[in-house]
Amino acid sequence: MHELSLACSVVELVDNELHRHGGGALRTVEVTVGDLSGVDCEAFAYSLQMILDRRYAGVRVALTRVSPRARCLTCGGMFEPASIYTPCPHCGSYSTQLLEGQEFRLSSLTVEADEDKP
């Protein structure tokens, strides 16, 4: 259950980004989470929303999930693995490389427009 500490890291990044862009009322925080990143999306979204609510009223957490995609290092086949040790469905090899699905990043913020900025 490390989702709360991960959510705290996101809030730190959000604070820094907002400060860098001169503030503004925060509307949306978009986070990209790969399905094999090891993050429990439900617990993470709940924790993040809870902390953000205390600092930025009315903010919405938007999670973008990324489906996993892997390449077999034996036969070169592409497939969608169900776990980090799913064998290649084409040749049965466990020697595979995960190309997508481990993402865990703060993608973007939406803030209320400031008249003075482009």
Binding site: L13, H21, Y94, L106, S108, T110, K117
Partner: protein
């Protein structure tokens, strides 16, 4: 001015501003592209730790396992065996939710140890370990970091270690790697402990190894019984070889 929402100037399209991550409006709001790894701060401190330990001639070993697999027992016996070979340059950072019992066990062997109590936290992070190392200031040493007993959370947090060792006792079942794959995916070494209990449990060594190799085909195994002393000579040989070729790892 862009035709999508009227933001920006004539020189740049709305899509171009998205591509370059420039702040721009969507009617009443502004999008700020960030695209930053959420663990970037931890990873930055971990890189600093790695560079610092490298410069100080240390090999840092992050020891992870479930509670009760025998991390502290393995450490104690490792320290004793290395001492018998005349090697005493060992330092330990202990992580637990509460108590400094484990640091006490290590200090009784004459080895410097710093205890980190994570309280409500379920793992060590790079910053906690950096602060603990400030107290130790070990040089030319094996630096053991005994993580919080937990096979889930510590997997995500790089501490800057040169070696990640996952310890697994045979009493936990040979399918443990499949149940907690992330920890095995990120480990360099798997120490299989309590092998003296194999006759009394259903776990099979070969099956356990097969399962770990499904997740991580590069993982290397050691078989030990910390309390009986089995397999510790090979384990200590390996640690000494790591220290000798520390520039390469």
């Amino acid at each position: 001015m862009c035709s999508t929402c009227g933001c920006g100037d004539r020189e740049m399209s709305h899509e171009e501003m998205h591509r370059q991550g420039l702040p721009h409006t969507h009617g009443a709001t502004v999008d700020i592209a960030v695209e930053q790894d959420i663990l970037s701060d931890n990873n930055r401190v971990a890189r600093q730790n790695r560079a610092r330990w490298s410069a100080m001639g240390c090999v840092a070993v992050n020891l992870v396992s479930s509670p009760g697999s025998g991390k502290t027992a393995l450490l104690e016996q490792t320290i004793v065996r290395l001492g018998e070979r005349g090697f005493r340059r060992v330092a330990v950072i202990e992580g637990d939710q509460h108590t400094d019992n484990d640091a006490g066990r290590i200090r009784r062997l004459g080895v410097p140890a710093v205890q980190i109590n994570t309280h409500n936290g379920c793992h060590l992070d790079a910053r906690m370990v950096a602060e603990a190392y400030d107290e130790l200031q070990a040089r030319d040493s094996l630096l053991f970091i005994e993580n919080v007993g937990n096979l889930v959370c510590p997997a995500m947090f790089d501490l800057g270690e040169q070696l990640r060792v996952v310890l697994l006792s045979v009493t936990e079942g040979d399918d443990k790697p499949l149940k907690y794959p992330y920890m095995f995916a990120g480990a360099d070494i798997c120490v299989i402990n309590k092998i003296d209990l194999l006759p009394y449990v259903d776990s099979r060594l070969e099956r356990l190894k097969e399962n770990a190799l499904k997740i991580n085909s590069e993982i290397r195994f050691f078989e030990t019984s910390a309390t009986r002393g089995t397999g510790l000579a090979l384990w200590c040989d390996y640690l000494c070889s790591c220290l000798e070729r520390r520039e390469a790892i």
